[in-house]
């Protein structure tokens, strides 16, 4: 079973999601039926966890409205297809119970994709989201691999898909739709695939040259830059998917003009994911940079009624002046003042513009003030240097 969720009776613009997570590679290194030539494809532990996390995020409010997750009254969740490959059966929690998912083998993915595509095609103006997490390689064009890649000798890469070609084809059949692909995989260039272009995977759907582009907009968000690698910790949600979920949950939110609505659009989503990964790069052993591209202004993927919050961390140096000092923050939440004798002060505030400053209660230094600081989630940090 791949249909995890399907809402009936919705009218207007709707959102259809397809999630694919591949951790088990039957013919890869350490697989149950390992091939002599594996092209370096090993078993992965993060993609099933990452895919489940994203499924849980999309379904959250379906369990109870207050649970964090996907929200968009202008384009509510209408369907979710999911396939996950890992050792043993894969079950996910759904409203009213559990569902066992089909493994992400080529035939299953194709069936689920066609079901998802049919819904998108039938729903003029819909939002279509495809998420993939697993092995990927590039020839300049990006390819993603399913559980049974390497199965066919001589056509080793057949059980995968051509990411860009699939997206370009969809544009010609999804009237007024907005199509978003989020690809959490490596993008290293594969010499084997470059030298055998005929062996590369095909798109999940091929369009004819006759068809014009009829979709309204599309976006493509990659976990890694061209030729680069995507990372995750063993058995944990990947760095990209963590940043993706954070960004969708509000980090990428901007306020709609003239309305108390915060919306996440693809351009901002790409930027927020990039910033979160950059922030992690400061301490991570290996750097990862995402890449995104957007065609045409899109409607919001997510809409929220609450402003996203940022953690503001304020400190001052030299340390010996902290004892009789306070830092403050002034903006839409009023004036917030904190003593900083114990070190950096953290305050959560809604995104927006704030004046921040530091002053000494013992007149040990001149007041410091920064006016109109643009506080953007997830974190804003500033250290006042006072003399």
């Amino acid at each position: 079973m791949t249909t995890v969720f399907e809402a009936k009776g919705l009218v207007g613009r709707r959102t259809h999601v397809l999630i694919i997570g591949v951790g088990k590679y039957t013919y890869g290194i350490g697989g149950a039926d390992q091939k002599p030539e594996t092209f370096g494809l090993m078993q992965l532990t993060s993609p099933p966890v990452s895919a489940k996390a994203l499924i849980a995020w999309f379904l959250g409010p379906q369990f109870e409205p207050q649970r964090p997750g996907f929200s968009n009254p202008s384009a509510p969740l209408a369907s979710l297809e999911a396939l996950i490959s890992e050792d043993g059966p894969v079950r996910v929690e759904i409203p009213g119970g559990e569902r066992e998912l089909d493994p992400a083998k080529a035939a299953n993915v194709k069936t689920a994709f066609n079901r998802w595509r049919a819904r998108v095609q039938a729903d003029q103006g819909s939002t279509a989201i495809l998420y993939f997490c697993g092995h990927g390689q590039s020839t300049g064009r990006q390819y993603a691999f399913f559980e049974d890649v390497l199965e066919q000798d001589g056509r080793e890469f057949e059980n995968g898909f051509d990411v860009e070609a699939t997206l370009y084809s969809l544009r010609t059949v999804a009237q007024d739709s907005q199509i978003h692909f989020w690809i959490d995989s490596c993008r290293e260039v594969s010499a084997a695939m470059l030298l055998q272009p005929d062996a590369c995977p095909r798109p999940l759907f091929s369009a004819s040259l006759i068809r014009p582009v009829i979709a309204k907009a599309m976006s493509l968000l990659y976990a890694a830059g061209a030729g680069q690698i995507a990372f995750s910790k063993e058995g944990q949600v990947s760095r990209f998917t963590t940043a993706l979920i954070k960004s969708l949950s509000g980090c990428a939110g901007t306020r709609r003009s003239g309305a108390p609505i915060w919306e996440v659009k693809p351009g901002e989503l790409g930027r927020a994911v990039g910033l979160l990964l950059d922030a992690e790069n400061r301490t991570a052993a290996r750097r990862q940079s995402s890449a995104s591209t957007t065609d045409a202004e899109c409607d919001s993927i997510v809409e929220m009624t609450q402003a996203p919050t940022a953690t503001v961390s304020l400190d001052l140096v030299p340390e010996h002046l902290r004892a009789n000092s306070e830092v403050f923050l002034r903006g839409q939440t009023g004036l917030i003042t904190r003593h900083c004798g114990n070190g950096p002060v953290s305050v959560d505030v809604p995104k927006g513009y704030y004046d921040i400053g530091a002053r000494s209660t013992a007149a040990a230094f001149a007041d410091k003030l920064l006016q109109g600081e643009d506080i953007v989630p997830p974190v804003y940090a500033h250290t006042f240097e006072v003399v």
Binding site: G140, A165, L195, S206, S257, S289, E297, K351, G372
Partner: protein
């Protein structure tokens, strides 16, 4: 009703009164966004040094305090707060750059990630010192009669400060590439503007992403709005690009850079649907040496759908023509080359039950299509990030490579038929792709024919 005026002033040394005649490209315009305290966008527009932005707000109660944000093409933004008080008018002025940046480098200030600084502020060993790259070699290539030839670098002007070096080149019409590399800098190519005076500024780049090259190459052909637009497109900043594009599209295109930048924006924004095909035909015909113009027309044609067999034939021919015109100038072309080659490649491979006319398409595909597609694939795999400029890694212009090779400037070994002073292109080079060749490359008696050598950056 409240009003807001946003002015741009470029910091400059007023003693250099004649600077504008010499360096007009620093007078660029910038997207401006006016936001309320929660970050909600109230208004957007473009402000330039000679065209301030004038805005009015109908709801004064909720706009006591506003934040005016200038979006810079280097990815940064600058914010100023406006507090109206009892007044109904406000003026905001942004000063671009600093007065201690020399006039010749001022145009680049909004486009470089690092600060341009004078000698007194930086030691030669510092991370931001251009002298770190003194042993970088540089070559200039020109596409001439169907092949790439190395030509001598003859700058008409040279300038330098501690953090940057600039050369001015006077280019003929057509496709040019600048190639740089060293023992630690991977060999890469950057496409230069089409014709006329082109300024090339080189400055160390703060490495932010895994894709950044540590030496930033910034180019101008003195078309500031078009170049700003392309920078925003390369950063996927469609909103900011839209403001500049509106400003640009209201003016006549009189030069290829502006026309091509406008067309690239139309393709990104969806605006291509509203533009008649003859506009793109004119672009293609007006600049017959422009690879970008051919690519733009090809992609528009594909997006409109090809209904006649003659249209399909033409599309495949144009896929090849993009390359026979040289190479594109702008990074945006990487996306469109991928799109065009993917769509045309897949159309001939599609099963009959999906794409329908695959058999017909296969019959219409011209000879040499495989080599053309291989070149597209090689360029996609070799893509380098250098702002809005079309850039890729490789050793020779016709051998883009995913491998990031380093070392002394490569010299081509080729057949004895090659000219004394030129490099004959390898016919199968594009298939090599930086990896082990399939062995089809011409196995002529190799002989070194290079007479031109690379120039070291320190000698420029």
């Amino acid at each position: 009703m409240k009003s807001l005026t946003v002015r741009i002033r470029h910091a400059r040394d007023l003693r250099a009164m004649s600077y504008r005649a010499v360096y007009p490209a620093d007078s660029s315009s910038f997207p401006i966004r006016v936001e309320d305290p929660t970050g909600g966008v109230l208004s957007e527009g473009v402000a330039g040094e000679y065209e301030p932005l004038l805005l009015t707000f109908a709801d004064p109660e909720s706009h006591e305090v506003l934040y005016v944000k200038l979006l810079s093409p280097n990815g940064r933004s600058v914010v100023q707060r406006v507090h109206y008080g009892p007044s109904t008018d406000a003026l905001v002025q942004f000063v671009i750059g600093s007065a201690d940046v020399p006039d010749w480098a001022r145009w680049a200030s909004p486009r470089v990630a690092s600060k341009l600084v004078q000698s007194s502020e930086i030691s030669s060993s510092a991370r931001g010192a251009i002298s770190r790259f003194r042993n970088v070699w540089v070559k200039l290539w020109r596409f001439d009669e169907g092949s790439w030839r190395q030509v001598a670098i003859a700058p008409s002007e040279k300038e330098a400060i501690a953090s940057a070096k600039q050369i001015e080149l006077n280019l003929q019409e057509g496709s040019h590439l600048l190639q740089l590399g060293s023992a630690s800098l991977p060999w890469f190519f950057v496409a230069l503007p089409a014709r006329g005076v082109c300024r090339v500024l080189l400055t160390p780049q703060r490495v932010m992403s895994t894709q950044d090259i540590p030496l930033q190459v910034v180019l101008t052909s003195s078309r500031p709005e078009a170049e700003t637009l392309l920078e925003f497109l390369s950063r996927d900043e469609l909103g900011a690009a839209g403001s500049i594009a509106t400003y640009l599209l209201e003016r006549k295109y009189e030069d290829p850079t502006s026309a091509i930048a406008g067309a690239y924006y139309l393709l990104r924004s969806g605006g291509w649907r509203e533009i008649p095909i003859w506009w793109f035909d004119n672009l293609y015909a007006s600049f017959p040496w422009s690879s970008d113009a051919a690519l733009i027309l090809l992609v528009v044609s594909l997006r409109r759908g090809l209904t006649l067999t003659s249209e399909i034939e033409t599309a495949y021919q144009m896929l090849s023509e993009v390359l026979t015109r040289g190479l594109p100038m702008f990074a945006e072309a990487h996306r469109l080359m991928l799109e065009a080659s993917t769509v045309l490649d897949q159309a001939r491979r599609a099963p009959e039950d999906e794409g329908g006319a695959a058999m017909t398409v296969r019959l219409l595909a011209p000879e040499g299509l495989e080599a053309t597609l291989a070149t597209y694939a090689a360029l996609a795999a070799a893509r380098a990030e250098m702002g809005s400029a079309f850039a890729f890694y490789g050793d020779f212009p016709d051998r883009p490579s995913a491998n990031r090779q380093t070392g002394a400037a490569p010299e081509r070994c080729d057949s004895p038929e090659a000219g004394e002073n030129d490099f004959e292109p390898l016919q199968t080079a594009s298939l090599e792709l930086g990896f082990t060749s399939s062995g089809n490359a011409r196995r002529a008696r190799a002989r070194r024919v290079s007479r031109k050598t690379a120039t070291l950056l320190k000698d420029l």
